[in-house]
């Protein structure tokens, strides 16, 4: 479960990385946009870049094991959540709007590093999104330092 500060962080202009794995435990990386934490802080939903036929899509559909890391481009702080996907479907209009809003916030963060808007836009593969939702089973601190990897 995420507390209110963690929820605010996840809802900000953070970069979002996703790990899944296949039957042979081979991991796959992809990105996601529009993270939304439930009011109780216990369920995360987001649009994952995982087109039909991709490894990430196959993994999500077959076993659902997922890890999501949130970190601003400056990598000053990070948070990772883990769980197993319970719901997977095509994104709806509201999901895409949320993803777009997240992209704009991420672009603003990237601008702090003089990264042109085209670069984060390139990561935003709208046509490849699949919407997933899962109960948050574990939360880890990913902030650089001795506490990195600590379960929260």
């Amino acid at each position: 479960m995420l507390d209110s500060a963690q929820v605010a962080f996840v809802h900000g202009g953070v970069g979002t990385g996703v790990a899944t794995r296949d039957h042979d435990l081979v991991p796959a990386f992809t990105r996601a946009f529009g993270p939304q934490v439930s009011h109780a802080g216990s369920v995360l939903s987001l649009c994952v870049v995982a087109s039909l036929g991709s490894r990430s899509r196959a993994n999500l559909e077959s076993n659902g094991a997922i890890a999501v890391v949130f970190s601003p481009p400056t990598v000053a702080r990070g948070l990772q959540v883990k769980g197993v996907v319970r719901e997977l479907r095509e994104p709806r209009a509201a999901d895409l709007v949320r993803a777009e809003e997240h992209l704009l916030a991420f672009i603003a963060e990237c601008a702090e590093l003089a990264i042109a808007p085209e670069v984060p836009r390139r990561l935003f593969a709208r046509d490849e999104f699949v919407w997933v939702s899962f109960p948050i089973e574990d939360v880890f601190d990913q902030t650089p330092g001795r506490g990195a990897g600590r379960r929260l």
Binding site: A19, P27, A67, P73, G78, K82, V119
Partner: protein, 468 residues
């Protein structure tokens, strides 16, 4: 041997610079995936990369159980992504790869005030099994490194330096050429001091203010780490909030007390510096200085540039060492003029502090250390005899200046002194009037006052006892 990669690693080295952080996905033996940020993806060879082992404890544990991983790297200029399927081979805690990665991490840590936090525990060597665009539609990026185009630029740099007749000309020519030929438009050239623990700026290009005389401690910041490790250090991305200027300002040691010279000569820097590189200058096996470059473009300098920068640094160091050691000034010594010039301007108040050879002119800090000692000698000589003409040779032979025999850095010190005098506009100038000859020019008479010290430097200012 792995099969030939669909996208050769060499062709995407510019994506390994970490401007946009790379990430790594792993999986535990019980099937729980993990994803985290990577500081550096280091190119080892066409089949292997090195990943820094710092904080990602879970990643390390996963790799011990299950060596498979997937790493994403991003082209900072286009956002194109590449996925590397890898297999963990082993961890290196020493050796060339470890040293190279550690030098870069130490520099970044020092710049961002996180020394000790960014400790490198090891470099995990991974074999790259596949390397492919994240998006199949992406055309394979071409390496934006210098490649063969560098040869022509290097050839011209060597030609221009070979025409230089003296040290100041070589410093100016080198920095101009770096801008003209390589597009490195902001640069500072540092010389190592005799003790080997500090660097002082002798020339700069591309900044509003001159850097001449600014000092950096060896071991501190990008510049200091490059000097201490004698390695090219590239910082592809500098967080804006901790700008290079502010970070480097912290590395400059402030002299103590409330004295009027407590304001150091500021090191210039780009307000929006995003990328930097520091190149150690090594001649005859010794550190002679550092060439520092910075850019407002993220990713301007990265590991792929290290070879080019090493070649530039090597040739520059050799050229400057050659000219520094050129002492052909004796022939004209007999022609020294002893002129008492008519000084019509207002008096110039010069104060010299024995404690650290600081010189103030009309209450304003001018210079300290060896350049301060040299200026004080010239001014005293002028006050006593009216001389305005001096030679490098007599400075080298003056034991009170304490220049070390064989490696006195005199040319670099004089260059700093001349630039500081010019920048200060204090009515005192020191002009080169021929090879190894200097002329002191003043707009008014100088009133000299010397502040004695009772501290550790007192002995240096005490005349030797007779017979000793």
């Amino acid at each position: 041997m792995s099969e030939q990669l669909a996208v050769p690693l060499e062709s995407i080295r510019h994506c390994l610079r970490g401007v946009i952080p790379s990430q790594i996905a792993t999986c535990s033996a019980d099937g729980v995936p993990n994803v985290t940020i990577l500081s550096i993806v280091h190119y080892v060879d066409p089949e292997r990369v090195g990943l820094t082992r710092q904080f990602f404890n879970k990643t390390s544990a996963n790799l011990r159980e299950n060596p498979r991983a997937q790493v994403v790297v991003v082209d900072p200029s286009t956002g194109e992504q590449y996925l590397l399927d890898t297999e963990f081979l082993h961890t290196e805690t020493e050796g060339a790869t470890f040293d190279a990665v550690e030098a870069n991490l130490d520099a970044i840590a020092s710049q961002t005030g996180m020394t000790g936090v960014f400790r490198l525990w090891g470099v995990d060597i991974h074999r790259v099994l596949t390397c492919a665009p994240f998006d199949d539609a992406v055309a394979v990026a071409l390496d934006r490194g210098w490649g063969r185009t560098a040869i022509g630029a290097l050839d011209e740099l060597v030609r221009r330096l070979s025409l230089c007749g003296d040290y100041p000309e070589a410093t100016r020519t080198a920095l101009d050429a770096l801008a003209d030929l390589f597009g490195f438009r902001q640069s500072i050239l540092f010389s190592a001091d005799e003790r080997g623990d500090r660097l002082f700026a002798v020339a700069s290009d591309g900044y509003a203010e001159s850097a001449a005389g600014a000092e950096v401690a060896v071991g501190a910041g990008v510049i200091g780490v490059a000097a201490a490790r004698r390695r090219v250090v590239c910082v592809p991305s500098i967080v804006r909030g901790r700008s290079m200027h502010a970070a480097m300002a912290q590395t400059i040691e402030e002299p103590g007390g409330e004295e009027p010279w407590a304001r150091e000569i500021p090191l210039p820097g780009l307000d929006r510096a995003q990328s930097a590189a520091a190149v150690p200058l090594i001649a005859r096996g010794e550190l002679t200085g550092v060439l520092y470059l910075e850019s407002e473009r993220a990713g301007e300098f990265g590991p792929g540039d290290e070879r080019l920068l090493r070649i530039i640094g090597g040739h520059l160091a050799a050229s400057l060492a050659l000219l520094q050691g050129d002492r052909r000034e004796g022939a004209e010594e007999a022609e020294l003029r002893q002129v008492i010039a008519a000084l019509s301007g207002p008096p110039i108040a010069v104060t010299y502090y024995q404690a650290d050879d600081t010189v103030l002119v009309d209450g304003e800090y001018l210079v300290k250390g060896v350049p301060g000692r040299i200026l004080w000698k010239l001014l005293r000589e002028h006050a006593a005899t009216g001389r305005i003409a001096f030679t490098n040779r007599e400075l080298r032979l003056d034991e009170q200046l304490g220049l070390p025999a064989g490696n006195d850095n005199l040319e670099a010190r004089l260059l700093v002194l001349r630039k500081r005098l010019t920048a200060a506009g204090c009515g005192i100038q020191l002009e080169r009037v021929g090879r190894g000859r200097l002329e002191l020019r003043m707009t008014g008479p100088a009133t000299l006052s010397e502040v004695a010290t009772t501290g550790p430097m007192r002995a240096a200012h005490t005349p030797p006892a007779p017979g000793k």
